[in-house]
């Protein structure tokens, strides 16, 4: 029987109106008296040694208040979530390793002066040879980008299950393919912005769009040589994040300038700066060798993942781990051998980007599956069903336990059914239509992986004497709707109007550490913590209420803003109850700590089907329809969940079709959004979303994660649809018209 909820499962949006009206305050909207504006001086080339830096001319420009260099930093001057190896500012005598390295900062009375002063800083440097691709970086005798590392390998990983040799021996057919995936830019509407200032206790306050206030607070503090409690970090509402705001960029700079000048400082990246500085989705090269029997049983899967970490470690070791652990995906393959390396280069730093390594490995696998289906002469949907993981079977990662029956067959059927119903318009003779599918077993809440701050989530709830509720969590509102979901959960627990619940987010002075807003985790983790905290608070209210009303605790429950007595008389409004508690000295604030109690990593299932039309004379591809079915557990807010799937699909479509933050010998070929092309509204197909509700035992109300997941299947479904239409696979997307044209007409790539 379906459980009846008070407001869970409804489409409630707490911050919708203010956003639509343009009233939401983002970090860049903050203006303070006496505020300075700051600008960074970036590395002149991708790799070089800083010999001297002369700031005297810049300092003498009227209106310039400070020009700072590495010398002004008291702390380690290094930050990073896994290894602290990235400089806040590159010092004299040190090497800058990529175009996003910052050499100096200017704070001035206004932006124009700051920009002019930047041009007056004189830098003397020696350009060094660079490493710009896997071959160069991994070559014997290549120079080492980080002297403490033996090679240019940032991290490696391996997963072996079964015996790969016997797996291939059991197969009738073996296929080997290499898939290359492009560097993707997050392209959020809001570029990075930060405001810092001293409060009247002499602590630095940071207001900035970022995805994990406690991590930023801690890592910036050590880099600048302050105790973490001398900084307060507030994550402002972000205009998109997608993982790109999970790492420190200008935040340490703004704080440094406030420390030096004593004044409030604002820093906002231009689009061009944003593109150079924040970490990108890793470009990858993925080699897959797959063996199957004639009837379509996959017996062996050997895969190697290379990801381009760029110049610093960033989150690459974790991204690689996640890529490998999701490589085999929702299939049962008895013999697997997966390995890979994150490789240092002088390219842009790569890091978290919606999916965290999973889009690369999942897309590569799904493309190869379609090629295998073709070789076996088996329908691609059938091939996936034959190999779909069943309960009791070992997944391609030991970090996942199948705690609910897998749903791949049903998801595939549901997406295909939608496409079959879609009308097929006439297409000109030179156009070919194709339908493609792709599946994944996306991971969420990777709590047990070694990344700072992921494990353990705290959330607090407080009831004021009038019965109104406040939720405190360090989750970040970045457009995904976490503020609405938390309000809904509190409202569900206390049976009040979600619009009446206040939610305070992401302030190290007042909200408990909830870990990063990444890994599709906050509904799951903060949602669970909030439920636990609410249960504790309700328990206390019930025990107090039972004395107040003189009835047994078991008889009390919350409904419609009141505490009621089961099949009986008597009720007390929450406002009265809270007031009595207040006078009686009952604590009405509860904080709870949630540590995931699913396996090491949570998982779900997803399938996407795409219809495309390929103009075989130009190579242009029109994506006509995208249907995604997601095993969501329970949609606490169905519209927000669908929004995540549609948005993830859009971003993935861009990755498949146009987005390539191209670098050539270190130079960025697409430095702005005029060259780096994200999809416009006109490029988007009709999109449909199917939310399959199948409550997850450990999720709040059965909910699973969803934020990243469509980015693991949409690109692959589209590329497979092109393959089905043309018989040619784009193995190095984006599928530009020229690439598709060359494939269709048989022109070799290099010519």
């Amino acid at each position: 029987m379906e459980k009846k909820y008070w407001c869970v499962g409804q489409n409630f949006r707490k911050d919708g109106k203010e956003k639509v009206k343009g009233e939401t305050k983002y970090a860049g909207d903050i203006f303070l008296p006496d505020m300075l504006f700051a600008k960074p001086l970036l590395a002149p080339v991708s790799h070089g040694r800083l010999k001297t830096i002369d700031t005297s001319l810049a300092k003498s420009l009227p209106g310039v208040v400070a020009v700072v260099t590495a010398e002004d930093i008291k702390g380690s001057n290094r930050f990073g979530p896994v290894m602290q190896d990235q400089p806040v500012l590159v010092g004299v005598g040190e090497d800058f390793k990529f175009l996003g390295d910052t050499l100096a900062l200017v704070a001035a009375e206004n932006k124009k002066i700051a920009e002019e002063a930047i041009r007056l800083i004189k830098v003397d440097y020696e350009e060094l040879p660079g490493l710009y691709n896997f071959n160069e970086a991994l070559a014997d005798g290549a120079f080492r980008l980080h002297q403490n590392m033996e090679k240019n390998i940032c991290s490696s990983g391996e997963i072996v299950i079964g015996d790969i040799t016997s797996g291939f021996n059991e197969s009738d057919i073996i296929l080997e393919e290499i898939i290359q995936t492009p560097r993707q830019e997050h392209a959020y509407l809001e570029t990075e912005a930060a405001v810092s200032f001293f409060d009247n206790q002499g602590r630095v306050n940071l207001y900035s769009c970022l995805q994990d206030p406690y991590y930023f607070n801690y890592d910036i503090a050590q880099a600048l040589g302050l105790p973490a409690n001398r900084i307060r970090t507030v994550a402002t509402t972000a205009g998109g994040a997608f993982g790109g705001k999970d790492d420190i960029t200008l935040q340490a700079h703004a704080i440094l300038l406030t420390l030096v000048t004593g004044r409030p400082v604002k820093m906002v990246y231009s689009r061009e700066e944003s593109i150079l500085i924040h970490p990108k989705r890793h470009p990858s090269e993925i080699r897959i060798k797959i063996g199957a029997t004639k009837n379509g049983r996959i017996t062996a899967f050997e895969g190697r993942v290379l990801i381009d970490a760029g110049a610093y470690t960033g989150r690459s070791p974790v991204v690689l781990t996640v890529a490998l652990n999701s490589f085999v995906g929702p299939y049962y393959i008895p013999h697997i051998k997966l390995y890979g390396h994150a490789v240092y280069t002088n390219n842009l730093v790569a890091g978290a980007c919606r999916g965290y390594g999973q889009p690369q490995s999942n897309t590569a696998r799904e493309l190869v599956l379609d090629m295998l289906a073709d070789r076996l002469n088996i329908n691609p949907v059938t091939l996936r069903k034959i190999n779909a993981l069943k309960q009791g079977q070992q997944a391609g990662t030991r970090l996942v336990n199948l705690d609910t029956p897998p749903t791949l067959d049903s998801l595939l059927d549901q997406t295909m059914a939608v496409l079959e119903k879609s009308p097929h318009d006439d297409t000109p003779a030179y156009c070919k239509r194709g339908t493609g599918v792709a599946c994944a077993m996306p991971l969420f809440d990777i709590s047990a992986l070694p990344s700072l701050g992921l494990a353990g989530t705290g959330v607090a709830i407080q009831m004021h004497p009038d019965g109104s509720l406040v939720v405190y969590a360090s989750a970040v509102e970045c457009g995904q709707g976490v503020i609405s979901v938390l309000a809904q959960i509190a409202a569900e627990e206390f049976s009040v109007n979600p619009g009446d619940v206040e939610v305070i987010l992401a302030d190290t002075d007042s909200t408990p550490k909830s870990g990063p807003t990444t890994a599709s985790r906050q509904t799951y983790t903060s949602g669970n913590a909030l439920k636990i905290a609410s249960e504790h608070l309700k328990k206390r209210l019930i025990s107090f209420g039972s004395r107040l009303l003189n009835v047994a605790e078991e008889k009390l429950y919350f409904y419609g803003g009141k505490m009621l007595v089961k099949d009986g008389e008597g009720e007390v409004p929450l406002s009265k109850l809270a007031k009595e508690c207040y006078y009686a000295g009952v604590n009405l604030k509860e904080e709870a700590w949630f540590r995931s109690n699913h396996a090491t990593i949570g998982h779900t299932f997803i399938a996407t089907a795409a219809d495309v039309e390929v103009d075989t004379l130009t190579g242009s591809v029109k994506v006509l329809k995208l249907v995604t079915a997601h095993d969501i557990g329970k949609a606490i807010n169905p519209l927000a969940a669908a929004g995540q799937i549609i948005g993830g699909g859009m971003q993935s479509l861009g990755w498949a079709m146009t987005e390539d933050l191209m670098q050539k010998d270190g130079m960025v070929v697409t430095p702005s959004l005029a060259e780096y092309l994200i999809p416009t509204a006109l490029d988007l197909p009709a999109m449909e979303t199917i939310l399959m509700e199948n409550p997850y035992p450990t999720g709040p109300y059965g909910a699973k994660g969803v934020g990243e997941h469509a980015s693991m299947t949409a690109a692959a479904a589209i590329l497979n649809a092109i393959y089905q239409a043309t018989g040619k696979m784009v193995t190095n997307f984006p599928a530009t018209p020229e690439k598709v044209f060359n494939l269709v007409t048989g022109i070799p790539e290099s010519s």
């Binding site: 130009t618 005029a674 999809p679 530009t736 018209p737 020229e738």
Partner: protein, 285 residues
């Protein structure tokens, strides 16, 4: 991006007088969608800007007997919405629709598009195919030039906006025309290739005049005269169209571009787009 003065004028005379006063140190600005970027990037310096945007007399689209006249300050959106152009100058109508985004089309002007002199400017390609002439005024008089004469090189026009103003484009109303554009996404991006064709076909189905324009395959919007010659004074047939398109492919000289594609691909696309445009022009109307 610095200037000392920004003048909003209401008449051409007033504008010319101001330009004279600044003696070469000022420049006219229309929608500013090209110029402001150039000023920001320090590619141009001016002492003053003379805005033509309030001159109502420069915004019109009208038919005058066998010619169509367009005020140079007409926006792309105005061109795109004009039924007259859709009927009598489809190439220009489609080209205007292809420019940028709604915001850009709302303020960017056809005059600015021409004087900015980019080899693939969409309305430049269309107007070149339509055989347009431009009327240019200055304090010393007025001249009328065929469009070709205005393009000197990438971003280089023979019009000097420090003292001259383009007021009008004039072209025949009798062409059957069409426009095709290929780009990496559906909107808001520069073309890989764009082409426009204009054909005058008589009752015997003989092509009396063919004009073909292609961008960006040269330093200026390119006229494919050899391809035109294949059609001129010939009976229009599918075979002729294909031959003409193939000829165009040979007479252009595109370059390899990391963003727009290889020369080889773009050459092949000229043929495909031209065939489509020629067929469209022949069939429609």
């Amino acid at each position: 991006m610095h200037w000392e003065a920004y003048h909003c004028v209401e008449s051409i005379e007033e504008a010319l007088q101001l330009l004279d006063e600044y003696a070469g140190a000022s420049r006219v600005i229309a929608g500013g969608t090209d110029l402001v970027i150039q000023l920001k990037n320090h590619q141009r310096r001016v002492k003053a800007l003379v805005s033509l945007s309030s001159i109502k007399a420069l915004r019109y689209i009208e038919q005058d007997g066998e010619t169509i006249r367009i005020g140079a300050l007409s926006t792309h959106n105005e061109l795109a919405k004009s039924d007259l152009l859709m009927e009598k100058a489809k190439a220009l109508s489609l080209a205007a629709r292809a420019v940028g985004s709604p915001q850009i089309r709302n303020i960017g002007t056809v005059g600015g598009n021409i004087v900015n002199a980019q080899p693939a400017a969409d309305t430049a390609i269309a107007l070149l195919a339509l055989g347009a002439k431009a009327k240019i005024v200055s304090s010393t008089g007025e001249r009328v030039e065929v469009l070709e004469n205005l393009f000197k090189g990438i971003g280089e026009s023979s019009v000097n906006p420090a003292k001259e103003i383009v007021t009008e484009f004039i072209f025949p109303a009798f062409f059957r025309s069409a426009f095709q554009r290929l780009a990496l996404r559906k909107a808001f991006t520069l073309p890989i290739i764009n082409v426009a064709v204009a054909l005058l076909i008589d009752q015997k189905n003989i092509c009396r005049e063919a004009r073909i324009a292609i961008g960006p395959v040269s330093t200026v919007p390119f006229r494919a005269k050899k391809a035109e010659a294949i059609l001129n004074n010939e009976i229009i047939s599918e075979k002729k169209l294909v031959l003409a398109a193939a000829e165009a492919m040979r007479e252009i000289n595109p370059r390899d571009s990391l963003l727009r594609g290889s020369a080889m691909y773009r050459r092949a696309m000229v043929k495909v787009l031209l065939e489509r445009a020629l067929r469209d022009a022949v069939v429609v109307k």
